[in-house]
Structure formats: C-alpha cells, structure tokens
Amino acid sequence: MGLLTAEHKAAIGRTLPPVRAEVTRRDIRKYAASTGQRLERYLAGDEAPPLFLFGLFFPILPREQLLEDGRNPDTGLLPPLPLKRVMAGGTEAEYHRRILPGDVLLLHQTLIDLYEKTGSQGPLIFAVVENRVETEAGEPVMTERVTRIVR
C-alpha cells in the first residue's frame, strides 16, 4: 500500500473541458445496424440506443496523432499512475431521457475517485470517472460512473 501519493490524490475532482456532439439520424442508424438492433425505432434512427453515447464523444484525430496500437492518446484526466496494466472495470449508468436525432449533447468528465486496495495478486488502483451527458439547455440525459482497475 501507499502507491498513491498526495500528488496523485490531488487529481481527484479534475475535469476536462466539455465535449459537444450532435446526434444525427444517420449516425444512429449506423450504430443500430452495427450492433444488431432489431427495434424499428433504433433501425430507423428515430431514437438512439442507450449505449450509442459510448462512442458519441470519441475524439476524431488524424492518424499521426494516434498511438501505435491505434488508440487515442490519453486525455490527461488521470495522473500518471505507478501501475500500468489496465484491467476490466465496470460501468454503471443512469438514463434520464431518450436520445433523439437533432439533439446537441455535452459530455462533462470528472475524476471522482482514486484509491488503492490489495488484491490476491498484489496492489490494485481504482480510478472512478463520472461522465455526465446533458443537452445544451442543461437537461440531464445520462450519468455514468466508469471504474478502471489498474494493476
């Protein structure tokens, strides 16, 4: 124990600048076809499936800015951690409102917790990020907590 210093802990509460994205019928239809949806409202793009929000705010970067493995570079929300291997974490979401074509949505990301535990195979660091999605008018759409486990 004691992997996380006061400096690491000081990152709790850190936020990223909001990301804005427009929801289009065509993007909903692509998502619906690619995930094997069968409900007509999704296939027609009249409404987006809840996990459509997973990709909606991904950065769109030129090839030369991507990492060797194709991933996007780190956003800087988490401080550099003393452990490196990211394991499966979990996602817990609350949905407040349907997602419709024409919506203009904002994503607010906050690092809300950073703590460590000792697992059976050594120390683990838990990083919890809150993703809050709302309309431009401030109406809540989804609130999600994503836990990343690093060992």
């Binding site: 949806q37 409900l39 996990l51 769109i60 493995d69 996602t91 817990e92 979401a93």
Partner: protein, 140 residues
C-alpha cells in the same frame, strides 16, 4: 404488451445468441470511431498483444445486454439504470449468449430489477450486468 402485474421474480428474458464476424466488428468500430487495432488487425493482435484472435469489443457486449432488456420491455417500460463489466476477453469465432432474469419486482415503485450476463460457449459469464426498468403507472 408486457404488464408489470404479470412479471415474477425468476422470469427469464428471451435469450439471444451473437456470433460477430470481422465485418460486424468493422461496422461497430467504424460506427463508434474506435481505431484500436485489436478489433481488426489480426497479426498485430496475436503477435504484439498476445491475444488468440480478434477481440470482441466489451461495450458491444454491454449493448447486447441492453438490447435484451429493451426488446423484452417493448413499449411497456423504460431502462433507467444499467451496469456491466467486461470480466474476460472474447474473440471472433466464439458464440456468445445474452441472458437475463428478473431478480426483484417492486409494484409500489413500478420497477423491475434484472440480472444479465453474456455467456461464452463454456457457460462462463464473460460480461455480467444488472438493469433496472421502470413501468410508468399509465402503462402497467
């Protein structure tokens, strides 16, 4: 239409099997704009990252769990809470089965709790999940 009054703890949701191929994964990763090579570059994925095959996206499995709930609900209710975690990797060529069952019914609150899971061919739960559905009073 599904009625809250008829739902009982232990009710099982209709299952659905998924056997995504590389075309399906291409479509998915293009749709979400995910350029991570482990979902389309087989030599890189096996030789550099040490996986036995092309990795099936974890959030795609999460989506399948929501589909199970949303198709079961139809217009009778809505998904209000959903959690999932990807416990172990699955690969192109595997058949994965989305399953779910009712774990609690709260008639006063108009809610139903569900336990969900993506199972592999060895019946291991690779992606467990939970959901809460709400049935508006005028539809139950």
């Amino acid at each position: 239409m599904l009625k809250l009054s008829a739902i009982q703890v232990g009710d099982r949701l209709p299952e659905r099997s998924h056997r995504p191929d590389t075309v399906q994964l291409f479509m998915y990763n293009a749709a979400i704009w995910n350029p991570h090579r482990i979902h389309y570059d087989l030599p890189y994925t096996t030789e550099v990252e040490g996986h036995p095959g092309i990795v099936i996206d974890g959030p795609l499995q999460g989506d399948w769990l929501t589909q199970l709930v949303l198709e079961w609900l139809g217009d009778a209710g809505e998904l209000v809470r959903f959690r999932y975690s990807n416990r172990r990797a699955s690969y192109v060529g595997e058949t994965l089965r989305a399953t779910g069952q009712v774990t609690a019914v709260d008639h006063a609150a108009g809610t139903v709790a569900l336990e969900l899971g993506i199972l592999n061919e060895g019946n291991e739960c690779v992606t467990p999940g939970e959901a809460l559905a709400r049935f508006p009073a005028d539809r139950s």
